[in-house]
């Protein structure tokens, strides 16, 4: 989140799209409803009428996978009707930047596309530079090559009729949404976008989020209380795990992971550190070397020296994509031989669960670390296989639950909140930290005495957490915060990091969370001096306890807040200084302490961007500087905007066990989508094993419209099979008015929705017949987003068959 949970209450309008907070983030609704009491509007755009929609002032359906068409239409509506916040757009975004005349867009493709590699050469996606190397701007926004005009041209095709034909959203409702939400561009008004996996789990997931960001920048909704682009994370600590590099392409703190061409430290740092000739841009990432070298000092301690490139060579260089789907493809091909599943249940939660379960059969060994014996832990006796045929050796390590261990949980608002152990874990269960530590010890012992250079990374790793058997989580937290290695004192913040090896830091964005003053994440002072719910002394949030990112943009160029009642920071002309309620996200005073005038910081309100500004045009994604609508991997219709049916840069995997339904397939005429319900959690291990939750949602079901039920002769509660080219799943029928056929390209298409929590193991599996598999992901495909490779769980083609 750019903002945070409590800040929702400051909003004037919520655009809930690709998410279902009432069911999946119920506590958030406390703040949404508080805002509603003040008169805020709740707009819900979702294929299904959800429990969130039940609270909406305005609900609009849309076909799964067509967010870009929908938001693109909103962008056009805003531009056509001159509803954007002009000062914000001109001063705080790159709308005025001139783009290379080489840049173009034609029939669904941006300039630079190479069909044989399915990728773009981005050399034309660049700004025009002046003689000093500074991007050229036209603040009148009229130059035909300026970002603003390109944006206008790009979305000129997204008129409301076209949007309605693509998305299935009725035109009048779409226009009502556009009108209601764009009213937040009025200075002083705030609109927020609340999104989740309904947004990201698409082949265009990243671009969906980009579309939201563009919309928010046009309306001046970024950096202000009650605004922002707010990802509601799917698990309580998934923000923390991303911050700490759960993903393969980053190191802790979102540091770019080295690839094969980053031959040595100097090359890697050069390739990772953005530079600009623009004297106005703060370009905070220029500090990349400090973050990285301090990280290497945390990893390898004294062993990391300037002479040995701070052990840069110890890091294996990435030679490909190691995302979830890729890993399972590699197991399927027999390349990967061993697997640790840490709180993961891919037989339920993985896309194309049949293929993933099959892939597990190729492993020599598999370890499941979990609270329960998950479906995946018993993949070798799943319905339809003979355990004797499966040779994989499987281990189950019992793990401690969150109340059985101490540590921090970082919520979606980036607040790291310290938690204490309430009870001892039962039996042999251990905390993840203990398990990792014991594992490390056992592995290191195997390598002890080796003189081989390739074993140095394991032997040289620092592991100073007290007892190896019972590591001290506070020492881990301190290592993350970082030390001044000369004084051995904890660092006050990442501003003190050095690139000469004199500081260490396990994750630069968390520097400042555990200082000489103590454990900031454990703070529990709920005072709120601003009255905006910032609660600056409650826990700690990254970076440097800044609750709302980009908060310079909450004021106009002169430092006057857009909304005087909701000031985060404010320039006091009389005293010539900033009044700050939140930690400023800009350079507000010099090293000597004198305050910097607002016109200066107005030139770089987005300090993490090399331009210093919010990017309406951005070259960071693989699939284009502007989001463009493409159809999902499986769709009932042809792309109505271009001849590019699907995202042209997504990776297409082999068809082996991953067949695809043809466009408009007669065998699979229904649009399928999956989701979560309040009563269950993710792949279900933690909730299907709890009788109190199981009784609420005991069985797998499929939601269909009354019309579809009638056409197929289905009764409420009847057991049916839902089939896709990749599998079939048993489910009971839920006939509901909340699902309606969508009119797409002039024809009606029925939608079916299924929760994906069920499987085949546990207290409840999803049905009374325990010989069947109830995992919705048996239906989904091995296909992912072009940037993140997140699977396209949210849309596929399927059909419903009666069970005789």
């Amino acid at each position: 989140m750019t903002n945070h949970w409590i800040d929702l209450r400051n909003s004037d309008c919520f655009l809930v799209i690709g998410s279902n907070p009432a069911e999946n983030h119920p506590i958030s609704m406390k703040w949404v409803l508080k805002a509603k009491e003040r008169g805020a509007k709740l707009v819900v755009v979702d294929p299904r009428f959800t429990r969130t929609a039940s609270q909406a002032d305005l609900y609009c359906p849309l076909r799964p996978g067509t967010d870009i068409a929908f938001i693109g239409g909103m962008i056009k509506y805003i531009l056509d009707n001159n509803l954007f916040n002009r000062e914000y757009v001109v001063e705080y975004t790159n709308a005025s930047f001139l783009v290379s005349p080489e840049f173009s867009f034609h029939d669904g493709l941006f300039s630079g596309y190479n069909p044989s590699t399915r990728s773009y050469n981005k050399s034309s996606w660049v700004y025009q530079l002046d003689e000093n190397g500074v991007p050229k701007r036209d603040k009148t926004l009229s130059d035909p090559n300026c970002v603003f005009q390109l944006l206008k041209r790009h979305y000129s095709r997204y008129d409301s009729d076209t949007v309605s034909r693509i998305t299935g959203a009725p035109k009048d409702l779409f226009l009502k949404v556009a009108e209601t939400y764009s009213a937040t561009s009025q200075p002083g008004k705030a609109g927020t976008i609340m999104y989740a996996m309904g947004t990201t789990q698409h082949t265009v997931g990243t671009q969906n989020v980009r579309a939201y960001a563009i919309l928010q920048l046009l309306l001046g909704n970024v950096g202000i209380p009650g605004g922002g682009v707010n990802a509601m994370r799917g698990e309580s600590n998934v923000q923390g795990s991303t911050d700490f590099a759960l993903l393969f392409h980053i190191l802790p703190g979102y540091l770019r992971y080295p690839v094969a061409t980053d031959r040595d430290l100097a090359t890697y740092l050069k390739n990772s550190t953005p530079t600009t000739a623009d004297p106005d841009s703060v370009n905070y990432w220029k500090n990349f070397p400090k973050f990285f070298i301090s990280l290497m000092k945390a990893f390898f301690g004294d062993k990391a020296t300037a002479a040995n490139d701070f052990c840069y060579d110890y890091l294996p260089k990435a030679g490909g994509n190691y995302s979830f789907i890729s890993l399972f493809e590699a197991m399927y091909e027999g390349v990967i031989k061993g697997l640790f599943l840490w709180g993961q249940n891919p037989c339920v939660g993985g896309p194309n669960a049949n293929k993933e379960a099959k892939a597990l059969e190729n492993l020599d060994w598999m370890v499941a670390v979990d609270l329960w014996e998950t479906d995946t832990a018993v993949f070798w006796k799943r319905p339809g296989v003979n355990p004797a045929d499966i040779k994989t050796e499987v281990f189950l390590l019992p793990a401690a639950a969150s109340f059985e261990k101490e540590g921090s949980v970082s919520n979606s608002g980036r607040w790291a909140q310290w938690r204490y152990k309430a009870v001892e874990p039962p039996g042999d269960a251990k905390s993840d930290l203990e398990i990792v530590s014991l594992l490390y010890k056992a592995i290191r012992d195997k390598y002890q005495g080796s003189t081989s250079i390739k074993d140095r990374p394991i032997l040289d790793l620092t592991w100073n957490y007290g007892s190896v058997d019972h590591p001290d989580v506070h020492l881990v937290a301190k290592e993350i915060n970082g030390y001044d290695l000369t004084t051995h004192r904890l660092l006050p913040s990442f501003a003190s990091l050095k690139d000469d090896g004199s500081t260490s830091c396990g994750c630069w964005i968390y520097s400042g969370w555990y200082t000489e003053e103590g454990n900031m994440a454990a703070r529990r002072d709920d005072s709120d001096p601003s009255g905006l719910g910032l609660h600056p002394r409650w826990s700690w949030c990254w970076p440097i306890n800044r609750r709302i990112l980009y908060n310079r943009a909450s004021c106009d160029v002169n430092g006057t807040p857009w909304n005087a009642q909701k000031a985060l920071v404010q320039w006091d002309e009389e005293r010539q200084q900033w009044i700050t309620y939140d930690v400023p996200d800009f350079v507000f005073r010099t090293a000597t302490g004198s305050h910097v005038r607002p016109e200066v910081s107005a030139k770089s309100p987005f300090i993490m961007r090399v331009e210093g500004l919010g990017c309406i045009f951005a070259d960071g994604t693989a699939d284009g500087p502007f989001p463009e609508h493409y159809e999902p991997f499986e769709s009932p219709v042809k792309n109505m905007l271009s001849s590019q049916q699907i995202n042209p840069v997504i990776k297409i995997w082999s068809g082996d066990m991953n067949p695809r339904a043809a466009i408009g397939s007669a065998d699979y005429p229904l649009i399928g989508t999956t989701y979560r319900v309040t009563e269950h959690w993710q792949a279900g291990a933690m909730t299907r094993n709890l009788p109190w939750l199981a009784e609420l949602m005991p069985e797998m079901f499929v939601e269909i419209s009354p019309e579809l039920a009638k056409a197929r002769g289905l009764k409420p509660g009847e057991l049916v099979k839902v089939v896709s080219p990749r599998g079939e799943v048993y489910a009971k029928v839920c006939i509901t008015e909340r699902i309606k056929a969508l009119k797409v390209g002039g024809l009606f298409y029925e939608l079916v929705g299924m929760p994906w929590h069920y499987g085949f193991n546990g207290f409840v599996t999803g049905g009374k017949d325990r010989s069947k598999n109830y995992a919705a992901n048996l239906l989904t495909a091995h296909i992912g987003d072009a940037n993140t490779m997140i699977p396209e769980y949210k849309v596929f083609l399927c059909d419903i068959r009666k069970v005789m």
């Binding site: 009432a22 069911e23 119920p26 506590i27 609704m29 406390k30 409803l33 009428f49 429990r51 969130t52 929609a53 039940s54 609270q55 609900y59 319900v677 309040t678 009563e679 009788p691 109190w692 939750l693 199981a694 009784e695 609420l696 949602m697 005991p698 069985e699 797998m700 079901f701 009764k715 409420p716 509660g717 009971k732 029928v733 839920c734 006939i735 509901t736 008015e737 909340r738 009374k768």
Partner: protein, 259 residues
């Protein structure tokens, strides 16, 4: 008098209240099935004292999905108390209605006469069971478990008069916003409900009886025969079968598809 206000306009149907009730009162889970709707368990049971109703309607082409927690309403004119032959069902000093397990003879009269079909027979203990307003929490100054768990503030616990004023304000706002059927449910009903509602629509839209009434039999039983009630206990036995039948009939009529 202590009360709970259920503001259905703030309810998101998350059922934290339903689970909190089971947890605090250590009630075992039912072995349920999916019957075509989210609502589950499908009725009150001796181990299920509170349930959230899910009701969906299409009004002028627009879908409405309404949620309402239901449980013993802790009525002022509590039919269950007036008909209880053993005195097990009684009013506590907190103003709530409680069934004393040790005195309950499992005659089912309370269930048969409750307009909300709340009390349920527990074979194991030969006693009637229902929501006890978390008596053991409220006497210690805590709010009921369901209220504590509610994430949105749809459930509020406190002094009835204070809550009622808030509820009426809320209803006025709803009316002003165009909800012509908005009302407080439980102001007058059954002499006033200890658990009352803010509704945006008519009660039956939520699966609640539109005009709950104390059955005439309960009046007769409660007033005319009170002095000789103990004697009548014998007769109760004969009445059991008939009453079980009536309990079933007494379920709120559901005309719309529940979900």
């Amino acid at each position: 008098m202590r009360a709970v206000c259920i503001d259905t306009t703030k309810c998101i149907g998350c059922r934290a209240c339903q689970v909190a009730c089971k947890q605090w009162n250590q009630l075992p889970a039912e072995n349920t099935e999916f019957g075509g709707t989210y609502e589950n368990p499908s009725k009150f049971m001796h181990d299920t004292w509170t349930r959230v109703h899910f009701r969906e309607h299409r009004v002028n082409g627009e879908v409405q999905w309404l949620f309402a927690k239901s449980q013993c309403m802790h009525c002022t004119e509590a039919a269950c108390i007036s008909v209880c032959p053993s005195g097990a069902t009684h009013r506590t000093e907190m103003g709530t209605v409680l069934i004393d397990n040790r005195r309950c003879i499992g005659c089912n009269y309370c269930a048969a006469n409750c307009p909300f079909a709340v009390p349920r027979y527990d074979h194991k203990e030969n006693a009637m069971k229902k929501c006890n307003f978390c008596y053991n929490r409220i006497v210690d100054g805590l709010s009921p478990a369901c209220v504590k768990a509610c994430p949105t503030g749809a459930l509020q616990y406190g002094e009835r008069r204070v809550l009622m004023l808030e509820a009426e304000k809320r209803v006025n706002n709803l009316r002003a916003a165009g909800y012509r059927d908005a009302r407080v449910y439980g102001l007058e009903e059954m002499g006033g409900l200890g658990v009352f509602y803010v509704l945006r629509d008519r009660p039956s839209a939520y699966g609640l009886p539109d005009s709950p009434k104390v059955p005439m039999s309960a009046y007769v039983w409660g007033t005319a025969f009170k002095p000789v009630r103990a004697l009548a206990v014998l007769g109760v036995f004969l009445g059991l079968v008939a009453n079980r039948f009536r309990t079933r009939q007494n379920q709120p009529q559901e005309t719309v598809r529940g979900d």
